[in-house]
Amino acid sequence: MPVYTLFIFDRKGTCLYYTDWGRSRPPTHNDPEQEQKLLYGLLFSMKMFMKQISPDDSGDFRYLRTSAFKLHFFGTLSGLRFALFTHPSAANQSEALEHLYAEVYVPYVAKNPLVEKGEVITNEAFVEAVDDYITSLPVFAE
C-alpha cells in the first residue's frame, strides 16, 4: 500500500516541508503552492469545525478517508501540522507522525540553531531521516 505524500505546516500555514514517494498524479493545477494552500485550508477548517462541534475543544481528527486516499493527521500544541497521504486501506499512521515529530523534527529542526523559525526545511540530514523513517514503516512495504 503506497505512501504518497507528506506535508508539514507551521502555525502560520507555511509549508515547512513537502515530499512525495512516487505519486501517480501531479499536484493540483500543477501548482504545488496551490495544493499546499488547499490542504492547509482544509486542516485549519477541520480544527475550527471540531472546536465548535465537540463537547470540549480538545479533539483533533486522526484521519480522513476517501475512496482514493487516506489523509493521516497529527497536530501539536505548538501549532505544527503533519499530514500524510496514503492508499485508502492503510492502517492509521497518527502515531507514526507523532514519532516523526518527536524523533525527527525535534532533534533535526527545533534543536538545530541553523534553522530559523518558520523557514522551509532544506536540511539534508532531516530529509534523509524522514525518508528513512517513512520507508521503514510497515505501511510502506505492504
Partner: protein, 188 residues
C-alpha cells in the same frame, strides 16, 4: 484536569528521557555567560534585556522538545498550565520542581516558587548589582518564549530572589492574552 501526582509522574518520566549534564557544569557555564554579558555591556539593565532575549529564543525551541518528550495534553486553564510548568517543565530541564500558588481573585496570575534554583549555586552578587541585575532573567525569557508558542502571551517577573536575601526564587506569571489562530489568507 490532571492531578498533581500524575503530573509529577509525567515530570519524572520526562526527566529520565532527557540527556543529562553535570549541574555544576551547567551552573558555571551560565555564570560565565552572565559575567561575559556584564563585561560586554557594562550595564546591568541591558544584561537583563539580553538574558531575556536569549531566553526567549531558547523558549521558542524548547517548547517543541517539551511537548515531544512530556506528551502533555492541552491544559484546561492557566492554573493548570502553571502546574505543568512547575512540575513537568522545570523537572525536565532543570531537574527541580516548583510550587504553584494562586489567589482565587486573580485567576490570570500565578506564582511559581522554586525552593532550589540550580542557576544560583555558588553565586554571590556584588553590592552594586543587588536589586539591579536580575540574575535568573533567562527564565523569564524562556517562559515567555515557550508560552507564546502555545498561544499564550504572558508577562513574567522574578519577584523573589535568594541573591538579594529572599528565601526562594519566586516567579510571577501574568496571562495577558490567549492568541487566536489566524485563518489562512483569502485566496483569490
Amino acid at each position: 484536569m490532571s492531578s498533581k501526582a500524575s503530573l509529577q509522574r509525567t515530570g519524572d518520566s520526562a526527566f529520565k528521557r532527557m540527556d543529562h549534564v553535570s549541574s555544576e557544569l551547567f551552573t558555571l557555564t551560565y555564570g560565565s555567560l552572565v559575567l561575559q554579558l556584564i563585561e560586554d555591556f557594562e550595564d546591568y539593565a541591558e544584561v537583563n534585556n539580553q538574558l531575556e532575549r536569549m531566553g526567549n529564543n531558547i523558549g521558542q525551541r524548547l517548547i517543541e522538545e517539551f511537548l515531544a518528550k512530556s506528551r502533555v495534553s492541552k491544559c484546561g486553564d492557566f492554573a493548570e498550565t502553571c502546574e505543568v510548568i512547575a512540575l513537568v517543565g522545570f523537572r525536565m530541564f532543570l531537574g527541580v520542581t516548583g510550587t504553584v500558588s494562586q489567589s482565587a481573585k486573580e485567576p490570570h496570575v500565578c506564582h511559581i516558587t522554586l525552593a532550589s534554583n540550580p542557576l544560583l549555586d555558588f553565586v554571590e552578587l556584588p553590592d552594586e548589582a543587588k536589586g539591579v541585575l536580575q540574575y535568573s532573567n533567562i527564565l523569564v525569557g524562556v517562559l515567555k518564549g515557550a508560552l507564546e508558542m502555545v498561544q499564550m502571551r504572558v508577562d513574567v517577573e522574578v519577584v523573589h530572589d535568594p541573591l538579594v536575601g529572599d528565601e526562594a526564587t519566586e516567579l510571577k506569571l501574568t496571562l495577558l492574552e490567549i492568541i487566536n489562530d489566524e485563518p489562512p489568507p483569502d485566496d483569490e
